[in-house]
Amino acid sequence: MSVVTESGPRPAESFRVGRSQRNVAWTGIGALIVIVVLAFFPYLVYSGTTAIMVQGFIVLTLASMWNLLAGYAGLVSVGQQAFVGLGAYFVLILALHGTSPFAALPVAVIGSGVAALAMWWLVSRLRSGYFSIATWVLAATVMLFIERFNSIGGGSGLPLPGLAGMDPTLLTAYTYWIGLAVTVAAMVTVYFLLRGRLGLVLTAIRDDEVAARSSGARVGRARLLVFVVAGAFCGAAGAVLAISQLQVQPSADFTVQWTAEMAFAAIIGGLGTIEGPIIGTVVYMVLQQTLQNFNAWYLIILGLVAIVVALFARRGLWGLVDSRLHVRLFPVGYWLRSVGADNGRADSGPVDSGPVDSGPVDSGPVDSGPVGGGTVGSGANPV
């Protein structure tokens, strides 16, 4: 906000709005290298390790989607487990009819997306807490509905057929690759959603819904798209879950614990940033693996950390990094560049400064960052 008011004395043409291409190129290459290295993991590590990493992929996919929902679109869904479960059941149903579970995954994605579209009609008018509860009740309803059909295992579920003949090592590797592919697809989708036109709308909703509406942003349509995309990818995660567990079970796949885990990972890492869910997932996996012999303790600690982060570091761990170093691995916002008389082309800091309503933590980049008062207010040309 201060950028606009303080730039008054300066002529308008001395600023150019741009995007950081260089940064994106480096991150792109970096991300590609990481993906290639990750793709070789089944050749390098024990299958126990890849199995754990598949869990991480599932959580990262879910956390990215929850970040899109709650961090950007303002939709605090507590019913995403509906799509995890549906994804798993789509795979099971197709596998029971003889399709390979791997080939069933795309169907699970589309099916979950369509289910999300239908559910949106029920919950779209609700805001805030009522939206949360309605999605939760919907998830419970979907589970109860599926439990009615004894042919797909009723209340106790069924083992996933169709993979029994496969070599276990090969199966683990395939599962790993499909998990990796789903996660990469989810991250790429989120990145391009946010970098495109919709991203502007979503960032505006994140910062101030009323202002976004009054500026003519089609808030409802943006929310619908986010809900459907999140439903589809949560379904994909559910399909990966079914394949990795080789068992589909209503109580395990439709548990609200999925939403708790994805929410905590997203919150701890930092809502409203693409990087946040990655950090959050790492924290989640480290906690879960270290405390796995202590039953529910990792969830207790995760819950407590999420509460502390929500109260005292609203932009999460990544927000803490960002406010000190001004780093964006996946920049989707716009930057102001000053184009002075002497061709000064200094990057003057991100305009997209993270959620605005989050108090003092947040005002960092805007007020005291390179853009802030310093450069612009003083009227001096940065050289």
Partner: protein, 290 residues
């Protein structure tokens, strides 16, 4: 006759659901807090009751004399610390904090008290006995719970409309800045409202412990979802709407169970979704002041 019986049982269970829901309704009405930890707090209330009954051997029915004040104090402190600081940061933070609290409580109970389910006063005649009107059996306990729910709602109604603290709570719900200007501390008022809400939550926990069994997951699986369904069906901010919502939910469940024993929960949720689609403001709406 089976259908009449189902409806009567449904109405009576509706009293229990109204008891679940009135604390939730109160907290939403006064401070706009959607408390996702509501059900888990009720389970804590039930567990505290079990602990007190085992240690002090107070009569089961009188355990509420200790549990309700204890939970009220918990409610006041929770509101003044955690929930208030979340509220200061917005609706999203409040949801996240109460969701976190819910998971922490649920898994904490699981860790310290195992997943075993426990009932309250399971061997009492009050809990097991019933009387009959014609061919319809009515459990003493359900009748008592219904009476308690009505008494609690009447008490809340009286408190909010007649007492000076009640007036203050209503004023704060309407305009907390004006209340602040008039010299009252809205945070304290919020604390009082939360104390009241958790008092009813304690009763709900004890009632459910006697009616069925409590285990760490009861709070979210049953109490929270039923409470929300009752609140949404009945309509926001209306205490008697909450009772109506509870009754509609209870009757829907009993009729569902009558059709197919495993459809009890599904029928209740379907009615909830139907109300959501057809009448999202709920069955009873408070007249808006012009």
């Amino acid at each position: 006759m089976a259908w009449v019986n189902a409806i009567i049982q449904g109405v009576l269970t509706g009293g229990l659901y109204a008891l679940f829901a009135c604390g939730l309704s109160l907290m939403f009405g006064v401070m706009k807090v959607v408390n996702l930890a509501h059900g888990d707090l009720a389970v804590i209330g039930g567990y505290v009751a079990i602990g007190i009954i085992t240690v002090t051997h107070v009569p089961v029915l009188w355990s509420f004399v200790i549990v309700v004040p204890v939970m009220a104090v918990v409610g006041y402190l929770l509101q003044r610390t955690l929930i208030q600081s979340a509220l200061d940061r917005g609706a999203l933070t409040t949801l996240i904090v109460t969701l976190g609290l819910s998971v922490v409580i649920e898994n904490g109970l699981l860790e310290f008290f195992t997943a075993n389910s426990r009932g309250i006063g399971a061997s009492m005649t009050l809990v097991t006995g019933s009387f009959s009107i014609g061919s319809i059996q009515i459990a003493y306990l359900l009748a008592l719970i219904f009476a308690v729910a009505v008494a609690v709602l009447l008490g809340l109604q009286w408190f909010l409309s007649r007492s000076s603290y009640g007036r203050l709570i209503r004023a704060t719900a309407d305009d907390q800045e004006a209340v602040q200007l008039a010299g009252a501390d809205y945070r304290h008022v919020f604390g009082i409202a939360a104390a009241l809400a958790l008092g009813t939550v304690a009763l709900a926990g004890i009632a459910f412990g006697m009616y069925s069994d409590l285990d760490p997951t009861t709070g979210t699986d049953t109490i929270l979802l039923f409470a929300f369904a009752a609140v949404v069906i009945g309509g926001l901010g209306s205490l008697w709407g909450t009772l109506l919502g509870g009754i509609v939910l209870g009757v829907a469940q009993q009729i569902g169970a009558q059709i197919n024993i495993s459809d009890e929960l599904l029928a209740g949720y379907l009615v909830f979704l139907l109300v959501l689609v057809l009448r999202p403001q709920g069955l009873v709406t408070r007249r808006t002041q012009s």
